[in-house]
Amino acid sequence: MENKTASNFWDNTRRLTMALLALWFVVTFVAVFFARELDRVNLFGWPLSFYMAAQGIMLVYLAIVVVYTIRMGRAERQLQQTGEHTHGE
C-alpha cells in the first residue's frame, strides 16, 4: 500500500515537473526566438518583446515556482494523510 501511494506521488510529481518545465522552456526559448516578430506588438506602450525579456518572463518564472510549491505542498499533505491511515503513524 505504502509503495503504491509513494509511486503515485512520484508519478504526479514527475508529471507536474515536466509540465512546468515545458512552460519554462516555451516562455524562455520559444518567446525569445521570435522576439523580432513580437517586437511589432505593443503592450500598454511597451514593445512586447522588450517587456517580456525585461520583466514579463520573470513574473512567469515566479508563477511557475508558486504553482509548484502550492501543488507539491498539497500532494505532500495528502501523502502524509494516507500514510497515517494505513500505518497509523
Binding site: V32, W46, I64, V65
Partner: protein, 680 residues
C-alpha cells in the same frame, strides 16, 4: 528548543527593529550632511558602520557546533533563507554592473536578467527539495552518496570537490575585487587596503559562526541592498514620470527615449563625431598595414617632437612633459605596436558606431548577423540558467531549512527577493539613459553637471566617464561621451539630484552585495575542503571539534589566497566569472539532476559525465577565448566562449547516459536512497 513559529516571529521582530535602526542611521547622516559634514566622512561612516555591523552579527552568532556551523542548525525559516540566498546571489556584478550592461548593450543585456532569474525554476523543480530531503552538508556529499560503486565513493566526491573549488574560487576573487573597487571609489582609501578591510569583516563573520552567522548577516545585508538599489531609482522615477513606482512608470519614458534615440541618430553633429572616430580608426589601419616601418617612423617623430619642443623657447614645462610622456608611452617594439594599435583601431571603430536602440531585439546589419545575436542570447540564457541550478554555494543554502516543504517555499522567497531588485534594473537603466540623452546630450561644455567632474576624476587610469569636445562646437554630443557601465548605478543618486549620503548608501549596498556573496563562497570552499576532503577522505574519525576547527583554519587560508589573487587585479579572472556558470552547468548539473530523476545513472556514468562536461567546456573556452590564447575563428555556430556550457552540458549528459547504460545498474541501497529522497 522553542517552536518554529515563535522563532520566526522573534526573527521578524529583530529584523524589523534592525530596519528601523537603519532608517534612523540614514536620517542622522542626512542631518550631518546638512550640517556640513564632508563627503569623505560620510563615505567612511557608511563603510565602518556596516562592516562593524556584519562583524557584530558574526560575534553574536558564533558557534562550534557541527550542524550549526555547516547548515545553521537546519532551522532557518523559508522566508529568511530566501532573503539570505538572495543576498548570496546578488553579487557585486549584479549590483553594480547589471544596469550598466543593459544601458550599454540594449536588448542583449537582458540575457543576464532572464538567465539569473529563470535558473531558479530549475533549482525549485529539479534540485532543492531533493537535496533538502537528502539532508547532509555539501554538494559533493550528495554526489558521493548517490554514486557509490566499484571505485571508491570518494572518487566522485573528489571530482565534485575539484569542480566546486574551481567554480567558487574564480567567483570569490571577483567579489573581493569588487569590495576593493567600491571601497577605493567611495572613500579614496587604497585598493588593497579596501580588500583587506572587507576581508576582515568576512572573516569575523564566517570564521566565528559559519553558516549560522553568514545566514543572519546575509539577511541584514539584503535589507541594505534593497534600500540602496531602490531609493535612487524611485527618486529618478518621480523626477521623470511623477510616479514613484519605477518598475511600472518607466514604460511611459520608453516612447520618449525612442524619440530621443531617433533624434540623436539623425543629428548631423553626431555624424561629425562619428566621422572623427572613423578617421582615427582608418589612421591606425594604415599604420598597421605599414608595420614595422610605421612603428620606426612614429618613434623618430616622437623623438623629433621632444627636441622641437625643447628648442622652442616659448614651450612651457607642461608641453615638454607631455611630449616626453608621449615618447615613454610609445610602443617598445613592432609587436607591441601591432597589439596596441589593433586595440586602438577596434576602440575607435566601436566609438564610431551609432548607439544601439534600447528596446530593439537583436539589431544587426543583415539577417545573419541578427540571427547570430539571437543564438548567442539564447545560448547565454541557457548557460546562466543551468549554471545557476548547479552553483554549490546557492544549492548548499537549501540544506538549512527545517523541512522539504520549507525548502520549496524558500526557493520561492529567493526568487521573490531577487526579483524585487531585478525587476527594477531595466527601469534604472532606461531612466538614467533618458536623463543622459535629454539633459546631458545637447548641453554646453561650460555647464556640465557636477557628477561628471566628480566621477571623471575618481579613477584616473580607467575613467568611469569621459567627455571630450571632439568637434569643437562646445555642445555635448552622445558620441563624445564614453561611459563605463558601472557608473549607471554608482552615479544614479547624483543624476537624480539626491544628496551625497544616498551615494554613500549605494556604496554600502554594493559592498553588502559583494561581501554577502563572498561569505557564502568562502564557506562553500572551506566546507568542501574540510568536510569532504579532510573528514570524509583523510580522517573519518576526526572529532566534531576538530572538524570545525580545521574548517575555520581552511577558511582563513582560502580567504587570504583569494584576497591575494584579487590584489593582483587579474583582468582575466574577472572575465572568467561568466565562465564559472558554464563550468558549473557542464560538470555538476548532469550528475545532480540525473542522480535524482534517473535511477539507472550509476557511478561510472557520473564520473564520465563530470569529466566529459568539464573537458568539453574547458576545451571550447581555451580554443575560442582570446584571454586564454584562443581565437574567435574557432567558434562553433558563432557561439561566444562565455556560453561554452551550451556544448558542455549535452556532452556531459550524453557521456553520463551512454556510460551508465554500458555498465551495470546501481545496487539496491542506491535505489532505496533515490526512493527516499523522492518522497518528502
Amino acid at each position: 528548543m522553542e517552536s518554529d513559529k515563535s522563532f520566526f516571529w522573534r526573527l521578524t521582530r529583530y529584523y524589523a527593529w534592525y530596519t528601523v535602526g537603519f532608517i534612523l542611521f540614514l536620517l542622522v547622516l542626512a542631518v550631518l550632511e546638512h550640517e556640513g559634514m564632508p563627503r569623505a566622512w560620510i563615505g567612511y561612516l557608511f563603510m565602518f558602520v556596516t562592516i562593524a555591523l556584519y562583524a557584530g552579527i558574526g560575534v553574536v552568532s558564533r558557534t562550534s557546533d557541527v550542524p550549526e556551523y555547516y547548515v545553521a542548525g537546519r532551522r532557518v525559516p523559508a522566508l529568511f533563507n530566501g532573503m539570505a540566498t538572495a543576498a548570496d546571489w546578488i553579487s557585486a556584478a549584479t549590483f553594480i554592473s547589471l544596469a550598466g550592461g543593459l544601458y550599454l548593450q540594449g536588448f542583449d543585456g537582458l540575457a543576464y536578467i532572464m538567465g539569473w532569474t529563470g535558473g531558479y525554476c530549475l533549482v525549485a523543480l529539479l534540485i532543492a527539495p531533493y537535496l533538502r530531503k537528502f539532508g547532509q552538508y555539501t554538494i559533493p556529499d550528495f554526489l558521493a552518496e548517490r554514486y557509490p560503486g566499484r571505485y571508491s565513493g570518494n572518487l566522485v566526491r573528489i571530482l565534485a570537490v575539484i569542480a566546486t573549488i574551481i567554480i567558487s574560487f574564480t567567483y570569490v576573487v571577483a567579489q573581493i575585487y569588487g569590495v576593493g573597487l567600491i571601497t577605493s571609489r567611495f572613500t579614496g582609501i587604497d585598493f588593497s587596503i579596501g580588500i583587506f578591510l572587507g576581508l576582515a569583516s568576512i572573516l569575523v563573520c564566517s570564521f566565528l559562526g559559519g553558516m549560522r552567522a553568514i545566514t543572519w548577516t546575509q539577511v541584514a545585508q539584503y535589507i541594505i541592498i534593497l534600500f540602496a538599489y531602490l531609493i535612487p531609482v524611485i527618486w529618478l522615477s518621480a523626477k521623470h514620470t511623477s510616479v514613484p513606482v519605477p518598475q511600472v512608470a518607466y514604460g511611459s519614458v520608453l516612447p520618449k527615449l525612442n524619440a530621443a534615440e531617433k533624434r540623436i541618430a539623425d543629428d548631423p553633429k553626431e555624424k561629425e563625431v562619428s566621422a572623427i572616430f572613423q578617421a582615427r580608426a582608418d589612421d591606425y589601419e594604415k599604420k598597421l598595414r605599414n608595420l614595422p616601418r610605421s612603428w620606426e617612423e612614429g618613434r623618430i617623430d616622437a623623438q623629433h617632437h621632444i627636441e622641437e619642443v625643447k628648442r622652442n623657447s616659448h614651450a612651457s614645462l607642461a608641453d615638454i612633459k607631455s611630449a616626453s610622456r608621449a615618447l615613454t608611452a610609445y610602443p617598445k617594439s613592432a609587436e607591441e605596436a601591432e597589439r596596441k594599435w589593433s586595440d586602438a583601431k577596434a576602440y575607435n571603430i566601436a566609438r564610431a558606431q551609432p548607439s544601439v536602440s534600447q528596446t530593439e531585439p537583436f539589431p544587426g546589419k543583415d539577417e545573419d548577423a541578427a540571427n547570430i545575436k539571437r543564438n548567442n542570447f539564447l545560448a547565454l540564457v541557457f548557460c546562466l540558467m543551468v549554471g545557476t541550478a548547479a552553483l554549490p554555494h546557492i544549492l548548499m543554502r537549501y540544506y538549512t531549512t527545517p523541512s522539504v516543504h520549507e525548502a520549496r517555499k524558500s526557493v520561492f522567497w529567493t526568487l521573490f527577493f531577487i526579483m524585487l531588485i531585478y525587476i527594477t534594473v531595466p527601469a534604472l537603466a532606461i531612466l538614467v539613459k533618458y536623463d543622459i540623452y535629454t539633459s546631458l546630450v545637447g548641453s554646453t561644455y561650460s555647464h556640465l553637471p557636477d557628477w561628471v567632474y566628480y566621477w571623471a576624476n575618481i579613477d584616473k587610469v580607467n575613467p568611469l566617464v569621459s567627455i571630450t569636445d571632439l568637434n569643437h562646437d562646445s555642445v555635448v554630443q552622445l558620441g563624445e561621451i564614453a561611459l563605463d557601465g558601472d557608473i549607471i548605478v554608482l552615479a544614479t543618486p547624483e543624476i537624480a539630484g539626491l544628496p551625497y549620503f544616498i551615494s554613500g548608501l549605494v556604496a554600502a549596498g554594493g559592498l553588502a552585495a559583494a561581501l554577502s556573496t563572498a561569505d557564502g563562497l568562502l564557506l562553500t570552499i572551506s566546507n568542501a575542503l574540510s568536510h569532504d576532503v579532510y573528514y570524509k577522505v583523510i580522517d573519518p574519525t576526526a572529532s566534531t571539534q576538530k572538524r570545525v576547527t580545521i574548517s575555520k583554519l581552511l577558511l582563513l587560508v582560502v580567504a587570504l589566497l583569494a584576497a591575494y589573487a584579487a590584489s593582483l587585479k587579474p583582468g582575466d579572472i574577472l572575465s572568467m566569472v561568466g565562465v564559472a556558470f558554464s563550468l558549473a552547468a557542464s560538470t555538476l548539473f548532469p550528475a545532480l539532476v540525473f542522480g535524482i530523476f534517473w535511477k539507472r545513472a550509476n557511478q561510472p556514468g557520473a564520473i564520465a559525465g563530470i569529466v566529459a562536461g568539464f573537458v568539453m567546456c574547458v576545451y571550447y573556452m581555451l580554443t575560442t577565448h582570446p584571454a586564454f590564447g584562443g581565437n574567435a575563428a574557432n567558434q562553433w555556430f558563432h557561439i561566444a566562449p562565455i556560453s561554452a556550457g551550451l556544448f558542455g552540458v549535452p556532452v556531459g549528459i550524453a557521456a553520463l547516459v551512454i556510460v551508465s547504460l554500458l555498465t551495470p545498474p546501481p545496487d539496491e541501497r542506491t535505489i532505496a536512497l533515490i526512493d527516499h529522497i523522492r518522497t518528502p
